[in-house]
């Protein structure tokens, strides 16, 4: 367990800002305590400082998780955001996509969002912007990348992909092993 290096921080924040923009600041300056990002076994954990200090007691090989896991660094030093981060990026999301109840299940099973399943989309979403996917009753289902701008979506045919799937809450049961 250690703090992130400058390079890692840069890569990580770059990724995070694709979804929540400048709201990263809100994650770090919280009124209810100091929170920090820690790297452990290539995973980035977002955790309150006191908890982090206590977790220091636990040997590296025995520590499995602490606080919330945001994602991991791949072998090629890219950052992959995990579904477990959804709780923290959903409230600060800048661009959102809502899917219809009929397409809800499809997305949760790991498919892209089609135009036919698109319920709503934030205005002026640029192409390849990170988006949070919601159900129509505002339940965050996962996140992805906008395949088309909002303008293009209006004219797209029903089977066209609107948002690429990146991660969804179905992973909690589909790939429980790989969460951390």
């Amino acid at each position: 367990m250690r703090p992130l290096t400058e390079e890692e921080t840069k890569i990580f924040f770059e990724k995070l800002s694709k979804y929540i923009g400048e709201n990263i600041k809100l994650l770090l300056d919280r009124p209810d305590g100091t929170y920090c990002f820690r790297l452990h076994k290539d995973r980035v954990f977002y955790v309150r400082e006191e908890i982090m200090k206590l977790a220091g007691n636990i040997a590296r090989k025995n520590l499995i998780s602490m606080g919330t896991c945001f994602g991991k660094f791949t072998g090629s030093q890219k950052f992959k955001l995990h579904i477990t981060a959804l709780d923290f990026i959903a409230p600060y999301a800048k661009y959102k996509v809502w899917v219809k109840p009929s397409a809800e299940q499809q997305f949760v099973y790991g498919h892209h969002v089609m135009k036919s399943g698109l319920g709503r989309i934030t205005e002026n979403t640029p192409q390849y912007q990170g988006v949070i996917v919601y159900s129509m009753n505002d339940l965050p289902l996962g996140f992805g990348v906008a395949a088309k701008t909002t303008q293009e979506c209006r004219r797209a045919d029903p089977m066209a992909i609107v948002s690429f799937h990146q991660s969804d809450i179905g992973e909690y049961i589909r790939s429980e092993e790989k969460l951390v």
Binding site: I51, S65, G67, I83, I169, E176
Partner: protein, 634 residues
């Protein structure tokens, strides 16, 4: 209009008396034409024809029996229009069709079944009729109806009497002889026979003095019962013996309850939603549910569901947790407060941990530990799904946890156990547990509970509580373990705060436990419709480990291990056997053990020191150096 009909029918009834079947039919036909609902009457006519055919078989010449039949016919037609006085108070003319058809059946039965009896009964009936004639107002139909009622009552009495005589006949139940038993062992068991015998033997045992066969002891009966229960419910002999000790009276109910699954229960995640909202959302998905009971504000019982409950979007979003009702109990007993430091020693798959976190509203710190790394992954999934942020998940053997960390405000130990309380969930338990398994569990539990107590801080301002729970109902894994802890550490039993459940055993067979053992709680499938469960709450009042018992403690640990090898010895005799067995070799062993403990401590400390040192080094610039070392280690 109705009155006219009534009159017409009355006259018809009078005429009917003594007339033969054919005429009656005609008259009925004419009645039917009068009747309002033709369909119903058509059906009735058919029935009447059947009746009459049967009547022909029994006795045609008997006027009385004809009248009997007649009677029912008339009352039938009366029902359709609903006018005889006697029938008024229970007939509703509007629903004549339904009531009629029901009644037909019952009235069909009576003459059919007792057609022979009627012949003999009729004479006395006439006498009754004569006596009834005093009140002249009664219509002939009413008299008939009264007669019928009386006859029914008499028949009922007779049937009861017959039943009673049946009982007295079989009152003396004799056990099968040795030869019969031998014969049975060679053949595949006859389940109905076994079932009957279970019933009989239990009947005998309930009133042993009266019902026993002379010369057969209670032991023989109990032995037979155990054997039969083993065959009928397919348990092994060892477990059945244990269960019969725990439930001398309600063994049957318990075993039956184990054949039925407990209802599916879910727990609302109060961090993300409220129970009412969750219930509404699930009802919209076609789930039929109800609150679990007065004792929990977060539990819901699911009766049936059109969707898989473990895969609804609500589940994936962490709004609820699939969790047995009994799993709520230890957490409720623990009663975690906000901003505390809590240890869950054997936490996988995280159901109780997430409940603790929800009660603490994500404040404080929870250490969730599990000895099994794969199962610990399930904790990770559940904790993240439920949006819990205050938890550290570790993978240690719980027994060494005090060497890692101490000073917890509360500790929950949901110990690994034989699972005898959850036989409904895992039927394997019925056959694959023997004395050795129980002893092994019991021993591990003793070690774990001491570790749990040691991790707890007696000086905690808010708590210093330890909750011990198992999903086993065996005394060896519950009361005996608590009793052991009471002897070994400065802890005392306190009320669990659960207002239902049975009290723990203070004395059981040969065991005599601490007086306060009644503060522990037991839950059974047949009484609470929860999984079999045991919950005990301890308060630690001093961090000091009692000196004298501590010395014994280390020797006992070793002797216990030896004892597990000696299968025949029961687990509670340690006090005596330890002194007998503990001679030269155990002492040397303990010395070694102590040494290793010291070593471990040193290692732990040095590790801790080094990590702390490392932490200080962690400045972004020096990162590469560290990374190299860590990779080298891998």
């Amino acid at each position: 209009m109705k009155k006219e009909e009534q009159k017409a029918k009355q006259t018809a009834k009078v005429k009917d008396k003594g007339q033969n079947d054919l005429k009656m039919k005609n008259q009925n036909a004419s009645k039917n034409q009068k009747g309002k609902s033709k369909n119903v009457q058509g059906v009735k006519r058919k029935k009447e024809e059947v009746e009459e055919e049967e009547e022909d078989n029994s006795d045609e010449s008997e006027d009385e029996s004809d009248m009997e039949e007649d009677d029912s016919d008339v009352s039938d037609s009366g029902e359709v229009t609903g006018y005889t006085d006697h029938n008024k108070d229970w007939l509703k003319p509007a629903k004549s069709g339904e009531a009629d058809s029901d009644n037909d059946d019952s009235e069909d039965d009576i003459p059919d079944d007792f057609s022979d009896d009627e012949l003999s009964d009729d004479d006395s009936d006439e006498d009754d009729e004569n006596s009834d004639d005093d009140d002249e107002d009664l219509l002939p139909v009413e008299k008939k109806a009264k007669k019928l009622e009386k006859k029914q009552a008499r028949d009922k009495k007779l049937a009861e009497k017959e039943l009673m005589t049946n009982i007295t006949q079989t009152e003396k139940y004799t056990l099968p002889s040795g030869q019969e038993v031998e014969q049975e062992t060679n053949q595949p068991p006859d389940i109905t026979l076994v079932q009957n015998r279970i019933k009989e033997v239990m009947g005998v045992l309930a009133d042993f003095k009266e019902k026993r066969t002379e010369g057969r002891s209670r032991q023989e009966y109990i032995g037979q019962l155990r054997k039969d229960l083993c065959t009928y419910y397919s348990y092994n002999d060892f477990l059945m013996e244990k269960l019969m000790q725990i439930f001398p009276l309600e063994i049957h109910e318990f075993l039956e309850a184990n054949e039925v699954q407990r209802p599916v229960t879910i727990r609302t995640n109060t961090l993300k939603t409220r129970r009412r909202d969750l219930a509404q959302a699930l009802i919209n998905r076609g789930v039929n549910l109800d609150p679990i009971g007065k004792w929990s504000k977060v539990g819901l019982v699911v009766y049936d569901s059109q969707v898989p409950l473990g895969a609804t979007p609500e589940y994936l979003a962490g709004h609820y947790m699939l969790q047995g009702g009994s799993s709520f109990l230890p957490v409720m007993a623990l009663a975690p407060q906000e901003n505390e430091r809590i240890l869950d020693m054997a936490s996988a798959p995280g159901g109780k941990t997430t409940y603790i976190a929800a009660l603490m509203k994500n404040t404080g710190t929870i250490f969730a530990n599990d000895a099994n790394k794969d199962r610990a992954k399930a904790i990770v999934g559940n904790i993240h799904r439920m949006g819990i942020t205050n938890t550290v998940i570790s993978n240690y053997d719980g027994r060494i946890y005090p060497t890692i960390m101490k000073g917890f405000d509360r500790v929950l130990l949901d110990a690994p156990c034989s699972g005898t309380g959850v036989i409904a969930k895992d039927v394997e338990v019925k056959i694959n547990k023997d004395e050795k398994d129980i002893q092994r569990c019991s021993h591990l539990q003793r070690e774990l509970i001491l570790a749990a107590i040691d991790s707890c801080d007696a000086k905690s301002s808010t708590g210093a509580y330890i909750v011990y729970s198992t999903c086993s109902i065996l005394v060896e894994e519950n009361e005996a373990v608590i009793n052991y802890a009471l002897k070994k550490r400065n802890v005392k039993l306190v009320p669990t705060g659960l207002d239902f459940g049975r009290e723990g055993f203070v004395k059981f067979e040969k065991h005599r436990f601490h007086q306060n053992m009644k503060l522990t709680k037991r839950f059974y499938p047949h009484t609470h419709n929860l999984d079999g469960f045991f919950v005990a709450k301890l308060k630690k009042f001093s961090n000091k480990v009692p000196v004298d018992p501590d010395k014994q403690g280390t020797t006992e640990n070793v002797t216990e291990q030896q004892e597990t090898a000696v299968v025949n010895q029961s687990s509670e005799d340690k006090g005596q056997s330890s002194e007998e067995i503990s001679q030269k070799s155990p002492e040397t062993k303990t010395m070694k053990k102590k040494q290793t403990n010291v070593k471990k401590d040193k290692q732990g400390k040095s590790k801790w020191m080094s990590t702390k040192g490392n932490k200080k080094q962690f400045k972004p610039g020096q990162f590469k150096k560290f990374k190299n070392t860590s990779k080298g280690k891998k």
